[in-house]
Every structure is written in structure tokens, then in C-alpha cells.
Amino acid sequence: MTSPSLKRSLACLWWVLMAFLYLPLAVVVLFSFNSINSSALFESFSLRWYERLWGNEQIMASLGHSLVLAIISSVTAVVIGTLMGYGLYRHRARRLGWLIVLIYLPIVMPDIVFGISNMTFFVRISSLTGWLSPGLGTMVLSHVTFQIPFVALIVYSRFVGLDATLFDAAKDLYASPFDRARHFIVPSIKPALVSAFFLSFTLSIDDFVISFFTAGPESSTLPIYIWGAIRKGVTPEINAIASLMIAAVAVAAVISLAFTRSKGSDASR
């Protein structure tokens, strides 16, 4: 049906797109090995920016904040979101319109409005009560808010994929709800729990805008540090730390490819 010439020009377009998608990242990686502090002229290969990374306490502290924030918020969101996904599934026959609206709200809310509403709210609460002053704590609260919907939707769709009669069988088999959860529900949605955790983790690590507005002076994450360095124009190590983050994404991509290969399912998240 498709003529060979059309297919050839489509293939051309594909390679142009690949260049477009990967060139900006390649430039960052290339200049991270530059021996001089320039992003226009490549002089010679050197690892000096990577060596300077380890000595930069601010970068190391921001990396720590990013990881702590991502892990704590993801674990919290998986617990709360899984409960919610299960509730949505068990009671799907009821009209849950208000709940659906509530779940989609964090997804459709513009990041900037989300971040600023949280900032003003936390600032107000802390000036009234002394609690919730901006810092890692408030960032965890905000991150969990945008992670819950994704966890709930992933878990919900996994439940929908299960055979509904299994639930009746489990009810006959295990008397207490706790036993049912431990021996039937959790094991059967394990893949969904794993992917919900990793998606939450990625969302948290990737987030800049919401973190930027809810962060305190001592809790900047890696993207916030990079943002500040770019704005101030002092960026020698930025290429190096950015390259390491790109490398982490590449590793994640390979793992996810291996995962989909072994399961033979589709690659769309």
C-alpha cells in the first residue's frame, strides 16, 4: 500500500527527528568532557569537571535531597494511592464522579499554579502556627499530592485487568480482610506496585517547578541547583552533573526495554 519512495522519505524524517531529539543532550555530554570552560569551543578531552563534582558540597547535598525526597514521597504515595485504587475498583459500580474529579485535579493543574498555591498556603500556615515552614517536609507533602493520582490509576487499571471472580474465591478462602490483602491482593498487583513506585520516583526526580516553589533555603534539589547555576551563569560543573543525570535516564531506558522484552507487552508507560 505504501510506495517505497514514501517509505524512504519517512525514514529520512525519522533520522532528522532522532538528531533533533538527541542533539541537545549530546552537546551537554560532549562539553562535560571539555578541558576548558566553554560550551562553544571543544578543546580537548578531560575529566576535570567530574573531579570537581565530588568536591562540590552543594551539589552533593542537593543530590541527597533529591533522593530522600523521591524515596519518601514515592513510598507514601504508593501506600495511599494503592488504597485509593483498590477503593475505586471495589466500588466502581457506584457513582464516584467527585472522586474522579479530585484524582484528575493534580494532573491537569498547571505546575506553576500548583507550586505557587502550595507555597502561599505553607507560608501562611507556618506564619500562623509555626508548622510547615518551607523545606524538605513541605516538598514531600506536595510531591505526594501529584503522585497519588498516577499510583491510583495504575493500580486501578491492574485490578480491572484481573478476573473479577478471583475476588469471590479469595473471600471464601481467607476469612479476614488482612489475610486476603496479604495472600491475594498484594501479590496479584505486585507488577503494578513496582511500576507505580518507579513512575512516582521519576515524577519526583523530574519535577522542577513544584519543588522550586515549595523548597526552603536549605532544601534545594539537583534541578533547583542546576537552575540557579544556569541563571547565575557560573556553570562549569553543570555539564558534568547533567550528563550523569542523562546517563541515569539511559540506564533506566535500557532496563525498561529489557522489562518489556521479557514480558512482550507494549512499551507505552
Binding site: L13, I80, L102, V108, P110, F121, D206, A267
Partner: protein, 306 residues
């Protein structure tokens, strides 16, 4: 007269079901209400307050912030904010249109390739969007800066003035938006193309339809649900974009998200910023509502994601 035991047990069951629903969904619902709905209401209410002496919102209730947003200041009316709003809309429309034009052939090309290659190709399209958006914008800053190959090429073609870079500019902002959101259009379009009924296309070609006509009558209607889903995923976040205009636009190509942020950071006029946020929220919800209605009419039904 006492209730029959049967009725009592039905009521008991209903009570237990409701309790189960509340126990499972209430923690999450409560979390979202407490940390998103209440803060948003607080922010929106701030739009109706007066800007105090120290940039803090205070009573009395006024519409001053909205007047300011419409462009009325101390020196009479100025079109600055209107331009920002129009620029945001324009950038969103242009970037979305270009993303559609690029994503259609790409999504189609992926379906032409071998089954075993397709997951890898989709992954290759998606992977750049997994890197942090600040880093992606930084990459473009490096690529488009003055005295880089691309900027020199544009100079020799006479597109930009000598010793200027392609960045900062509104062109760089459009490019950044396309770069950010392209995958969100390719994925739903690919899903639509994969299910495409090709016999319709063949029938159109057999009836001597031109390729363009065949696309219009046989392909476009079938991929419309995917397209609309893609537009929701691209246009809505593009309209509220903060990072790309801030880094790649360089002060002259700001969008409404930057207007909001500047009132809370440097400008410190919270009611004014809150009024702009309210405008953004209304525009976003309106956009989603309109696209959903369009999707229903096109018969998309469940495929329109949001």
C-alpha cells in the same frame, strides 16, 4: 413493628460497604483536598484582596488585581499583559500545530516498521522527555547560543543579526515547547495508527482519491480520537509552561506562567499574581472542557484520556 432480620442485614451490608469505600479512598482524597484544593482556594481568594504596603495581601476586598491584570496601572492602560496572554496562546497554538505535523508521519512510520522494532522506536521518542526539563532547556541554550554552528548558519542565511544567537528568542521558546511535548503526541497517534483499518484507505485509493484526499477521508477520521488526546496532553501543559520561556526566551518572550511567577518572586504583588493564576486555571479548564466535547462529538469516547 420490628424490622425483619433480612432488611437489617442489607442495611448492615450497605453500611459496611460505605465504610470500606471511605476507609480506602478517604486518605488520598483528604490528602488532595488538604494540599491542593485548599491551597488553590486560598490562592484564588487572594486575587480579591488588596496589595498591602509590603507586598502582602490584605483587606479590603477589591477587583484591583483584575484591573491591573487587564492592563490598568498608575500610568493608565498599557497592553503589556494582553500581549503576554496573546503570546502564550500563540506559542501554544503554533507549537501544538507543529507537533501535530511532525508526529503524524512519525507515528505512521513506526507502524510501517517491523513489529520487533516498534517498542524500541517508541522508547527512542520518549526517552529524552525522561531527562529533567531544566537540563533539556540547558542543552538547547548551548546549541543555540551565539557563535555556535547553528547560530552561524542562521547568520549567513541572514535570518538573525550578526553576533546574535538563535537564543534567547521566541523561536527558541517554540523549539523548546516542541521538544518537550512531541512524545505526548506521538504515543496516542501511534496507538490510533496501529488500529487503523487500512481497507478503507485502499478503497479510497481504488476510487482514484489523491493521497491527500485519501488521508482526509480515510485516515484522519480514524485517528481523530488519538489526535484529540494528544492535543490535550500537549496544549494544556504548553500553555502553562514556565521553564522553557524563562530560560530560552530571555525576558522578551515571557508567557503567562512567568507573569504569575514574577509576581510572587521579585514583583511581590500577590493579589495580582493570584488573579493571573485564576485566569490560567480558568483557561486550562475551559480548554480541557472544549476538547472533551469535541472528542465526544468525534465519537472518541473513552480514548480521550482526560
Amino acid at each position: 413493628m420490628s424490622k425483619r432480620p433480612f432488611e437489617r442485614s442489607v442495611r448492615q451490608l450497605r453500611f459496611r460497604e460505605t465504610r470500606h469505600l471511605l476507609l480506602t479512598t478517604l486518605p488520598g482524597a483528604f490528602w488532595i483536598v488538604l494540599f491542593l484544593v485548599l491551597p488553590s482556594l486560598y490562592l484564588v481568594s487572594m486575587a480579591f484582596l488588596t496589595n498591602g504596603t509590603y507586598g502582602q495581601p490584605s483587606l479590603p476586598l477589591t477587583f484591583d488585581a483584575f484591573r491591573q491584570l487587564a492592563g490598568f496601572g498608575f500610568l493608565g492602560w498599557s497592553p503589556g499583559n494582553l500581549y503576554t496572554l496573546l503570546r502564550s496562546l500563540w506559542q501554544t497554538v503554533v507549537a501544538t500545530a507543529l507537533v501535530v505535523v511532525i508526529a503524524y508521519p512519525i507515528a505512521y512510520y513506526i507502524t510501517l516498521c517491523r513489529q520487533s522494532l516498534r517498542p524500541i522506536m517508541l522508547l527512542l521518542v520518549v526517552v529524552p522527555s525522561w531527562t529533567n526539563q531544566v537540563i533539556r532547556a540547558f542543552g538547547w541554550m548551548n546549541l543555540l547560543a551565539p557563535d555556535t554552528p547553528l547560530s552561524n548558519l542562521a547568520q549567513s542565511l541572514g535570518l538573525i543579526a550578526p553576533h546574535m544567537g538563535l537564543f534567547p528568542s521566541s523561536f527558541a521558546v517554540t523549539l523548546g515547547l516542541i521538544y518537550n511535548f512531541l512524545p505526548f503526541m506521538v504515543l496516542p497517534l501511534y496507538a490510533a495508527f496501529e488500529k487503523l483499518d487500512t481497507t478503507l484507505v485502499e478503497a479510497a485509493r481504488d476510487l482514484y482519491a489523491s493521497p491527500l484526499k485519501a488521508f482526509w477521508v480515510a485516515v484522519f477520521p480514524q485517528t481523530l480520537p488519538g489526535l484529540l488526546a494528544g492535543i490535550v496532553l500537549v496544549a494544556v501543559p504548553a500553555f502553562g509552561m514556565y521553564v522553557v520561556p524563562e530560560l530560552l526566551g530571555g525576558g522578551r518572550s515571557l508567557m503567562i506562567g512567568n507573569l504569575v511567577a514574577s509576581q510572587f518572586a521579585g514583583g511581590s504583588n500577590w493579589p495580582y499574581g493570584a488573579a493571573a493564576s485564576l485566569l490560567m486555571l480558568v483557561a486550562t479548564l475551559l480548554g480541557i472542557f472544549l476538547l472533551r466535547r469535541l472528542g465526544r462529538r468525534a465519537g472518541g469516547g473513552e480514548e480521550v484520556v482526560i
